[in-house]
């Protein structure tokens, strides 16, 4: 069997992020991040890094290779608390025969209650992309209910069958297209003035962080925890969320 050429998720994402003045973060909440910034275990190797930048509280990006079995890529962007911008959330799980691809602008308010926010950050920003990628082969709801419950109404998720090698790049497109739109919104975003709105956004951001960690940590224990070690897998979730 020919060796698989994994998709350059990390490189393509970095390319788009290159205009940002990213400052590397070495610890979060007292946790030293250096072990995960470049790691190699008997079963896998990879690198995840967290950064700060103008208007961005936390940007985490990285990838992990499970020898010949799989390639994982993840990226989250948390704007600073005074910006109402959604979170950028990208998850990439590539195997020999299929790619699970999930990308979203996770809202920082209740979309049902806040229509202007929905119109600005979802309907106008990503709805055209959601419709465009709605015909991706393998399009489907995100596998976990807690993820579906936190994602926006226009997340894109698919398990794309790799019927030919070109499908890997097809599966990557939603991540790049959503990111381009996100960076444009970030550039244009202005800090929230209204106190009530700021409270709403911060309440939801805290809940998203707490609930993503709470739900992901027991799950990665059984998956990534086995290959990269439990402590490192936990650290990764803390960096991402």
């Amino acid at each position: 069997m020919a060796e698989i050429v994994w998709t350059p998720y990390l490189e393509k994402m970095r390319e788009l992020l290159s205009p940002l003045d990213l400052k590397e973060v070495r610890e979060i909440g007292g946790e030293d991040l250096s072990p995960i910034m470049d790691f190699r275990t008997p079963k896998c190797h990879g690198s995840f890094k967290t950064y700060r930048a103008n208007k961005i509280e936390k940007l985490t990006l990285g990838s992990l290779y499970l020898d010949e079995e799989g390639h994982y890529g993840m990226c989250t962007i948390w704007p600073q608390g005074e910006y109402e911008l959604p979170l950028y959330f990208s998850n990439w799980e590539e195997k020999a025969k299929e790619v699970l691809t999930l990308v979203d602008f996770t809202p920082t308010v209740d979309l049902l209650m806040n229509e202007p926010y929905r119109k600005k950050y979802i309907d106008e920003a990503i709805s055209p992309l959601w419709n465009k990628f709605g015909t991706l082969p393998g399009i489907q709801p995100a596998p976990y209910a807690f993820v579906r419950g936190m994602c926006s109404i226009n997340y894109t998720c698919a398990v794309v069958p790799v019927t030919n090698e070109g499908m890997r790049l097809v599966a990557l497109q939603p991540h790049l297209e959503y990111l381009k739109v996100y960076l444009k919104l970030l550039k244009e975003s202005e800090s929230i003035i209204e106190e009530k709105r700021r409270w709403e956004v911060n309440r939801k951001r805290a809940a998203l962080s707490h609930n993503y960690r709470k739900n992901f940590i027991p799950r990665v224990k059984k998956s990534l925890g086995v290959t990269m070690g439990e402590n490192m897998a936990n650290l990764l979730i803390i960096m991402l969320f």
């Binding site: 809202p107 049902l112 209910a145 109404i153 809940a207």
Partner: protein, 255 residues
């Protein structure tokens, strides 16, 4: 693909109440008015375009269920639009049980769901308590052709033109266009099974304790109701049949 003629379409209310005997054990009492509005004209009707009926009940000696609303609208002997909802009283945060089952010869447009009464991204325990019990049923029924076609799952996409409507759905919505008669019956079965879970959840629901939380629930619920009353495309059809005022009232009874 076979079209289903009007005479062979599913008699939704009969199936729910008689065949599946869904309300067995509940002491249903008809409601004649709701929130100060007379609903008699909607209970049984016949116009040039349509005939139909709607039943509105409360459950005697039950403080949790506000109302059960179920009905059928037969349109020009071509289509049958059915709806079914169960809603909690204001002291409970149970989700709103909703079914739309609109049959036409080529397909039935179906939506079955529990509309959450809070933002579940904030209230994660709410999802665990009231929505996750649907997971096995969702996994079973989302595979009905028309909900999923080939590899392409259509869950949630029937509502795609109405972003406001997408925001009301749960992560376990069954939603799509189902064609074959056999599959239509499976979609009906999904509605029955979801309803049974909702009725079971009533038994574990506790009254809301915190005033602020209750206010949040009620505000969100009013917003859901307002969206559907003002924007549901079905209201336009109802206006032609019933006139403006009754059409809005008809939609409002569901929520």
């Amino acid at each position: 693909m076979a079209k289903v003629e009007y005479k062979d379409m599913i008699k939704f209310v009969h199936e729910i109440t008689e065949v599946h005997n869904l309300f067995k054990g509940l002491s249903l009492a008809p409601l004649k008015s709701f929130e100060g509005r007379e609903i008699e004209p909607l209970m049984e009707y016949e116009t040039k375009l349509a005939s139909g009926f709607r039943r509105l009940y409360h459950v005697e000696e039950d403080s949790k269920i506000e109302k059960i609303c179920i009905g059928e609208l037969h349109y020009m002997k071509r289509a049958i639009y059915s709806s079914f909802s169960m809603t909690p009283t204001k002291d409970y945060d149970l989700p709103m049980f909703m079914v739309e089952f609109d049959q036409s010869p080529p397909w039935v447009s179906v939506t079955v769901d529990f509309f959450p009464q809070v933002d579940i991204a904030v209230y994660d325990d709410y999802r665990v308590k009231y929505l996750d019990p649907l997971e096995p049923l969702w996994n079973k029924y989302k595979e009905i052709p028309g909900i999923t076609e080939g590899d392409r799952c259509l869950v949630g996409r029937r509502f795609a033109p109405w972003a406001w409507a997408l925001t009301t759905l749960s992560p376990y919505v069954i939603d799509g266009k189902v064609r074959e008669q056999e599959d239509r019956y499976r979609a009906l079965e999904a509605a029955v099974e979801y309803a049974r879970v909702w009725l079971k959840l009533c038994s574990i629901a506790e009254p809301i304790k915190e005033k602020a939380y209750q206010e949040e629930v009620l505000v969100r619920r009013r917003q859901i109701r307002q969206y559907y009353e003002e924007r549901d495309p079905g209201v336009e059809v109802s206006k032609k049949i019933f006139g403006e005022e009754r059409a809005e009232m008809s939609m409002g009874l569901l929520f």
